[in-house]
């Protein structure tokens, strides 16, 4: 398989293959289906954001919703993220289930105060929950440059009261967005834009919501645990056959939910393999890998027979030019080198 980070067009990844029941559905269509089905199911659910109505959203995630549900439930807003998130908070506090779109997740910084100080703390301070979702395209790999490629998860993972979800597959994009909409607390839902049209699953329309807080074991193995999430899942799966050839059978965990992350599944796997490598696209310092490494060290030290390694982006902004962005992103090659180093212990 080609490195997905440098592949050009036509490349799709799937876990469910081309056979079996259901309809082949892209990650993007899975997001749209989740919105559509949740709005059908629950009249409290509505979407708001920039260009989400007639235009159907910058990435077309809300296409068709306006025609079906009308302008009161598919609300085009001013270009103002603080107003979008603030209004979503208020509506949630009065019993609705808003889904706010950030056109690019980078712009969520404009609503940082509303998310971290208002939404996150409201239940704790006042007992009134804020059941809303703020969703948008996250991540790099499409040459979006410093302001259309960021991975902002840790600002929110670090804020008690928020949940953070980052699906890697089309099936999870749908089932976990449904679960996020039904959740009673504020959820930051990070859709990886590189995956929108590149990954697909066979999905049965109308299938129910998944469960937040549970990692998925995407590949079982006994030699080494790779903990990852988002688009990097596919990088880990790409590297797996080469590791197998080396006699290092990797177990690959897809966290899916970053807050609360599934400590039990990670610890169980590390206790089995004795080796832990964390792979993420977010930058290195105080990335989720640091938290996972600290937890594994506290709670599974006796089972480890090597250092906990991290393969991450460097501590830089995300550059624009393809060779620079390629240098920034972790890839199968850097992952293989780290995994082989760890396997020598």
């Amino acid at each position: 398989m080609a490195d997905p980070r440098v592949a050009r067009g036509g490349v799709t990844f799937t876990l469910t293959g081309g056979e079996g029941p259901g309809v082949e559905t892209t990650y993007l269509d899975a997001v749209r289906q989740a919105l559509f089905e949740e709005m059908e199911r629950d009249e409290r659910v509505f979407v708001l954001g920039e260009d989400v109505g007639a235009y159907g959203g910058a990435f077309k995630a809300t296409e068709g919703l306006l025609e079906r549900f009308g302008p009161a439930r598919v609300l085009d807003t001013p270009l103002a993220e603080e107003a979008i998130v603030g209004a979503a908070i208020g509506a949630a506090m009065r019993g609705l289930r808003p889904v706010a779109e950030m056109q690019f997740i980078d712009f969520i910084s404009r609503a940082f105060d509303l998310l971290t100080n208002f939404a996150a703390k409201n239940r704790y301070r006042t007992g009134i929950g804020v059941p809303m979702v703020v969703r948008g395209p996250s991540g790099a790999g499409v040459h979006g440059g410093p302001y259309h490629s960021q991975s902002p998860e840790m600002y929110f993972v670090k804020t008690p009261g928020l949940k953070v979800v980052a699906p890697a597959t089309a099936a999870d994009a749908r089932s976990l967005l449904k679960a996020s909409i039904r959740d009673d607390d504020p959820v930051i839902f990070l859709e990886h834009k590189f995956l929108y049209r590149r990954v697909r699953d066979r999905l049965i329309p109308g299938e129910d919501a998944g469960t937040l807080g549970q990692a998925a074991v995407r590949r079982t193995g006994a030699g080494l645990t790779i903990v990852t999430y988002g688009a990097m899942l596919w990088t880990a799966l790409e590297a797996a056959p080469a590791l197998e050839v080396d006699g290092i059978s990797p177990e690959i965990l897809d966290l899916r939910t970053l807050m609360p992350w599934d400590e039990d599944t990670v610890l169980t796997s590390v206790k089995k393999t004795g080796k832990c490598l964390i792979l993420h696209e977010d930058t290195r310092t105080a990335g989720l890998g640091a938290e996972i490494a600290a937890t594994v060290s506290e709670k599974a030290f006796e089972w480890l027979d090597g250092p906990i390694l991290r393969v991450t982006a460097p501590d830089t902004p995300v550059p624009y030019s393809p060779p620079l962005e390629e240098a920034f992103l972790p890839n199968a090659k850097t992952l293989l080198a780290a995994a082989r180093q760890l396997a020598r212990y």
Binding site: G90, R123, Y124, P160, K163
Partner: protein, 338 residues
């Protein structure tokens, strides 16, 4: 005297403003005794703005005060003891000790807590009103911002959103001349903050914020207009902050002559004068109201002081709907027996 308020509501208006002032005097005493755990934010001289604006709302309407709008929450039926227990950080307080002062919500009474970051209530209350409109309810929302708060970005984004959506919002700009120690000349180049309404295509009004009856009339008109679909109003009440930013602040930066001028504009004295001159209340009636409020406050202060502090285990609860999330994260933390 010109007013649309009936006699019993006029009496109630006076009593609520008086309660605002006397409750705050109790809080000052408790603060000096070291019993107020955090800061104390005074509303002396601003009682008419808070109470008379909130008086314009109907049951079922929404109100989101700022830290100096003690009178607004009292006007919405929040009992004095809830405010006392909040300041004293007791388990019996509405936030159960998790937050301070007026940072509490009582949704049954349509009262929603501010946060310390100013301006954020403008988009949030707008979202509440959006929700009520989607549910088919005729609900008006009122929130407050100081002159300093109008410099914050969330004010602009929120009022613009409310204007575009024609939401039934009354945004009271409580102009008291100071943002902590920063005078208005350093805050904005406009003379009248209500003029900013033009920039949002909404109605702007200015009123003497120390004239309770005038404040009520203009607030009532804004509430009625909002309910009738006329959209938001920026309602600027010109008043004056008679004390420092909080009780620790001796306001050395304020010209004493200016304070003396405003002392002559005291809103409670002005209302008492109008009501006695027009025969709504007698001097004996004023004294009786004063004594009755003091008597009730004796009991409320005793209740607050006798209330227990919250159990430490409460610190770990209520972060999420599922308390297990915070609990799981605590596993392995050295908690010293908690």
């Amino acid at each position: 005297m010109t007013t649309s308020l009936p006699t019993e509501r006029l009496e109630d208006l006076y009593r609520t403003m008086l309660l605002n002032r006397l409750l705050e005097e109790r809080l000052v005493n408790l603060y000096r005794q070291g019993k107020v755990v955090g800061g104390l934010y005074r509303s002396l001289g601003q009682e008419a703005t808070s109470v008379a604006t909130a008086f314009a709302l109907e049951p079922g309407d929404l109100l989101a005060p700022l830290i100096r709008n003690l009178g607004s929450v009292l006007a919405r039926g929040i009992p004095a003891r809830d405010v006392l227990t909040q300041y004293l950080a007791r388990a019996t307080s509405p936030s159960r000790g998790k937050d301070a002062n007026l940072h509490f919500s009582v949704p049954e009474k349509g009262v929603y807590s501010p946060i310390a970051m100013l301006g954020t209530l403008v988009p949030v209350v707008s979202g509440m009103l959006l929700a009520e409109r989607m549910k088919g309810n005729s609900v008006v929302g009122m929130t407050y911002l100081g002159d300093g708060g109008t410099s914050v970005g969330a004010f602009h984004e929120g009022i613009n959103f409310a204007a575009v959506q024609k939401l039934p919002l009354v945004l009271v700009i409580e102009f008291n001349g100071w943002a902590y120690s920063t005078p208005f000349e350093k805050q904005s180049a406009v003379r009248t903050l209500a003029d900013k309404a033009i920039g949002y295509g909404i109605r702007g009004e200015v009123v003497d914020g120390n004239d309770a009856l005038a404040v009520y009339e203009v607030a009532r008109a804004a509430v009625d207009r909002a309910r009738a679909g006329g959209g938001p109003t920026l309602l600027e009440c010109k008043t004056y902050r008679m004390k420092g930013h909080a009780e620790h602040d001796a306001q050395a930066y304020v010209d004493p002559k200016e304070l003396e001028e405003w002392r002559r504009q005291d809103p409670l004295a002005r209302l008492a004068k109008v009501l006695t001159e027009s025969g709504v209340l007698t001097p004996a009636g004023l004294r009786a109201a004063h004594e009755e409020i003091e008597r009730r406050l004796d009991a409320d202060v005793a209740f607050a002081e006798a209330s227990p502090f919250p159990d430490p285990s409460l610190a770990f609860r209520g972060v999420y709907a599922d308390d297990g999330i915070a609990e799981r994260a605590r596993r392995g933390i050295f908690t010293g027996g908690l």
